[in-house]
């Protein structure tokens, strides 16, 4: 069997797990919870197998060392690895805090990301490495970067939940912040989804889509009517999320997680992710750049964005540990940190040009 079979199984498992976790939250039956965990673990094991198989497939084709054949060199592979880290992180939290409620949040992200990879027509072919990537630093640099991204993703979701459960009034700045943030996420994801649907119909190549068709199906449509309607729809969506945000709050309140636990998880995942990101992302990245390009730091957009991310989280840690920031203020910083992470990971590859132009969709 090849890796794609196991990838398929894990995608289905995560989507099933999502349904089971939601059922668990609704009915709070212990058996359902155990089933949800079992399904998630099954998906995780399958995904691990799939990654290992793909690693072997890559190794057989590339004829490079085993360390250089690690399957994390294009967007497809890196997204899969990201999902893997996310699920691993979630399972650790589930066992440590004995609380399954997060599952309803994490498994949809995992399942949808994998499904998105499937329907987007992203290239899944195993590609040989361009010369600059043929280095043993690839393994440590990319893997550590992704582990830290996953911990930051976790801190993002707990910080968002913290904001959602602790805000009372719709006019509160924090309430507006989280509802707008959530709105933008939903809108961008939706618009991207529409782009991909349209591209599917038109049969265009994904790289062309990103470079020149981003949001063409909606905001930047050639037809001004579609464009105006998209803006109206986005606005309405924002309004709905703002107006009915309390429903989300009620759902999260049924999770039985105290706000202080959420705050603690946010802090802890950043405290774990930050050193890993510094070492694996920035330091190992600089050493590798020094070997491959002859400069350890060149202010290339990817480097600059990872530095921005680093500063945001450094800000978080200093504000929290030295100035004693707690509550809404600090959660907002954690959310913004993850926005910087997303931009470092995806935005730079898709929107800006630079030396790190490997992670594109081609």
């Amino acid at each position: 069997m090849d890796s794609s079979v196991f990838f398929g199984i894990s995608t289905v498992a995560y989507i099933l797990a999502m349904i089971t976790y939601i059922t668990y939250i609704a009915f709070k039956k212990h058996g359902v919870g155990v089933a949800a965990t079992t399904i998630t673990i099954t998906g995780f094991v399958c995904q691990t197998l799939a990654i290992l198989l793909r690693w072997k497939e890559f190794y057989d084709i590339s004829q490079m060392g085993i360390l250089r054949s690690v399957p994390i060199t294009n967007l497809y592979e890196s997204l899969i690895f990201f999902v893997w880290c996310l699920i691993l992180g979630y399972l650790v939290v589930e066992f440590k805090y004995k609380n399954r409620s997060f599952g309803a949040f994490v498994t949809p992200v995992a399942g949808l990301a994998l499904a998105f990879i499937d329907i987007s027509g992203m290239s899944k072919e195993i590609q040989p490495l361009v010369p600059a990537l043929q280095s043993n630093w690839l393994l440590v640099h990319v893997i550590m970067s992704f582990i830290s991204y996953a911990t930051f993703a976790l801190s993002f979701s707990t910080a968002m939940m913290y904001l959602i459960v602790t805000t009372e009034r719709k006019t509160e700045a924090s309430y507006i912040f989280w509802s707008v943030m959530l709105g933008i996420f939903v809108i961008v994801l939706g618009a991207l989804g529409l782009d991909f649907l349209k591209f599917k119909v038109a049969g265009m190549k994904p790289e062309a889509l990103i470079k020149s068709y981003l949001f063409k199906a909606t905001f930047f449509s050639d037809s001004s009517i579609v464009s105006i309607l998209s803006y109206i729809a986005a606005f309405v969506l924002l309004f709905v999320i703002w107006r009915y945000g309390y429903i989300l709050k009620r759902i999260i309140e049924t999770f039985n997680i105290s706000a202080s636990t959420l705050d603690e998880i946010t802090y802890k995942s950043i405290a774990i992710g930050f050193p890993i990101f510094t070492l694996g992302g920035l330091i190992f990245g600089a050493i590798w750049a020094d070997q491959a390009w002859g400069v350890y730091w060149s202010w290339d957009p990817k480097e600059t964005w990872s530095l921005i991310t680093w500063f945001v989280y450094a800000f978080y840690l200093h504000a929290r540990l030295l100035r004693g920031w707690r509550g809404h203020k600090i959660s907002v910083v954690a959310v913004l940190g993850f926005v910087a992470v997303i931009f470092t990971y995806l935005g730079v590859n898709l929107l800006l040009s630079g030396l790190h132009a490997y992670g594109g969709l081609e």
């Binding site: 361009v130 043929q134 070492l279 600089a286 070997q291 200093h318 030295l322 100035r323």
Partner: protein
């Protein structure tokens, strides 16, 4: 720090530099301005960025906005005075903060734990108190054994009215933050050393040629400087890149020439470097490059001292200067190329030939005369069978031979990557081995005496971060006193990180004490 009301100006500056507020402001400013620097392409042509700006703000505003951004230094912002100032403020803040806070932390780190005075038990974050029945001596034994079983290697002391057990771990972990902060300063110092005492240049070296100078970026040059640069460059060309020879040719002192060259963006290496071969290898027959490599030879004082084939992730270092494989290209003039063929006649005579374009040669063991009439770095044929070049890289090198056999003449393309094309009409084989001298290798040349300091800073920062985030200073005091015939056990504990986990451990211990004390 003295908190007197009438602070003098130096104290105020010190306080300002030591404040966390400044740190937070500087963090934000560096992050926010950097975002602009990633959107506007740095050191790019004005047209490019005007295009970017007009995409964001509309075409009518773009030229004005460009002028404003340009005047503020955003087109090369990471080297602009204000960004450098921000970085310096960042460094100053870090340094002053560390100096400011260090004495109190050092005191804490230097002094080992002591028994806690009774009245201080209340002020400790984690505190428990239980009363156990039984003799104090027996309770003391229980406390000792429980502490041992929980892994606390305690010390003991008796004070008037009681007996104390105390323990601590990771006192030095409090220094983690300082190691981390100090490392950032070390990295910045290393970077500064690199900027002031190193250089970054490039050198395009054709196969077979050597040169002793790398080219660096300069500011704008005056017309006089440009013509001076040309004169020096010509002298260097004639001398094969040898600076002392060029100095003799120009009739000036070598040291004077060196100084002028540095000013004009030409960095003497102190030795020469020669490119013996440049090669691109591909994955199978695809056009996907697998590796770029250059065979380089270092010539110092007229002697070949070092030979190495460099690849993208594997540079050459000599006398503190590093040569990186960075780019490559095709030479414009094909008259100097050497076409290397390996011929095998039908009778089995095999030989390697080196010929130039237009040169007639005889294929050994035959009476066939051949001439190279055309060449291509990447040959392909269109649907009508016409040859054309599809890439500027040596993807599919080919040489066109005009073959003359017994007065019959025909032309034939020989392709390096396709053995099918090597066979002539009557079975003789002409293999194209290489077109030598057709490519130049683009080398990134760098001297950076600060890089090891940067690496040292990175190493200590990793250690510092590990200590700062994954180790904590944990302290524990247990005091046993006799009270109204019973025994009171007071527990106080503190941890500067992950207090919840330590608290759970303490609670477990207290529970064990209760059981043991029954």
């Amino acid at each position: 720090m003295a908190k007197s009301k009438d602070k003098n100006i130096i104290d105020r500056i010190w306080d300002f530099l030591a404040s966390v507020k400044l740190a937070i402001i500087v963090f934000s400013l560096i992050a926010l301005t950097s975002i602009i620097g990633t959107i506007l392409e740095q050191q790019a042509s004005p047209e490019k960025n005007i295009q970017v700006i007009s995409k964001l703000f509309g075409e009518s505003l773009a030229p004005t906005l460009y002028r404003i951004f340009d005047a503020l230094g955003f087109m090369d912002m990471y080297h602009s005075w204000w960004f450098v100032t921000l970085l310096m403020l960042f460094a100053a803040n870090l340094l002053v903060c560390s100096i400011d806070r260090f004495p109190s932390i050092w005191k804490l780190v230097k002094e080992p734990i002591k028994p806690l005075k009774e009245e201080h038990f209340k002020a400790i974050p984690i505190k428990r108190e239980i009363t156990l029945k039984g003799k104090t001596e027996k309770v003391k034994e229980t406390v000792g054994s429980v502490l041992r079983s929980e892994g606390f290697k305690y010390s003991e002391a008796s004070d008037p009215g009681g007996h104390q057990f105390y323990w601590e771990k990771g006192r030095y972990s409090r220094l983690g933050v300082y190691i981390t902060h100090f490392s950032i300063l070390v990295i910045l110092v290393g970077a500064l050393i690199g900027i002031f005492f190193g250089f970054k240049g490039f050198l395009n070296l054709p196969e077979g040629e050597s040169f002793g100078v790398a080219f660096t970026k300069t500011g704008e040059l005056t017309p006089a400087e440009i013509s001076e640069r040309r004169i020096i460059f010509n002298a260097l060309e004639i001398s094969g890149g040898d600076v002392s020879m060029a100095a003799r040719k120009l009739g000036v002192e070598e040291s004077h020439l060196t100084a002028r060259m540095k000013k004009l963006g030409m960095m003497p290496l102190g030795f020469s470097i020669r490119c013996d071969d440049f090669d691109v290898s591909f994955y199978g027959r695809s056009d996907m490059p697998k590796e770029y490599s250059s065979l380089l030879t270092v010539i110092d004082n007229g002697k070949e001292v070092l030979k190495k084939r460099i690849e993208v992730n594997d540079p050459l270092r000599y006398k503190g200067i590093t040569f990186y494989q960075s780019s490559y290209g095709i030479m414009p003039d094909s008259s100097s190329f050497l076409f290397i063929f390996r011929t095998t006649s039908k009778t089995g005579v095999s030989e390697t030939l080196r010929v130039r374009q237009g040169e007639k040669f005889l294929i050994p063991g035959t009476n066939i005369e051949a001439t190279v009439t055309d060449w291509s770095p990447a040959l392909s044929f269109d649907k009508d069978g016409r040859a054309f070049t599809y890439s500027e890289m040596m993807n599919n090198p080919g040489a066109q031979l005009e073959i003359n056999e017994n007065g019959k003449t025909y032309k034939k393309w020989i392709l390096e990557r396709y053995p099918v094309t090597w066979r002539l009409q009557n079975g003789h084989i002409v293999e194209l081995v290489d077109i030598w001298g057709a490519q130049y290798t683009g080398l990134q040349v760098r001297r950076d005496p600060g890089v090891w300091i940067v690496y040292l800073g990175c190493a200590t920062m990793s250690v510092g971060l590990f200590i700062a985030f994954f180790m904590s200073h944990r302290r524990l005091w247990v005091r046993v006193t006799t009270e109204k015939g019973n025994t009171k056990v007071m527990v106080a504990a503190s941890a500067n990180k992950n207090r919840e986990a330590f608290e759970r451990k303490i609670d477990k211990m207290v529970a064990l004490l209760k059981e043991g004390g029954k």
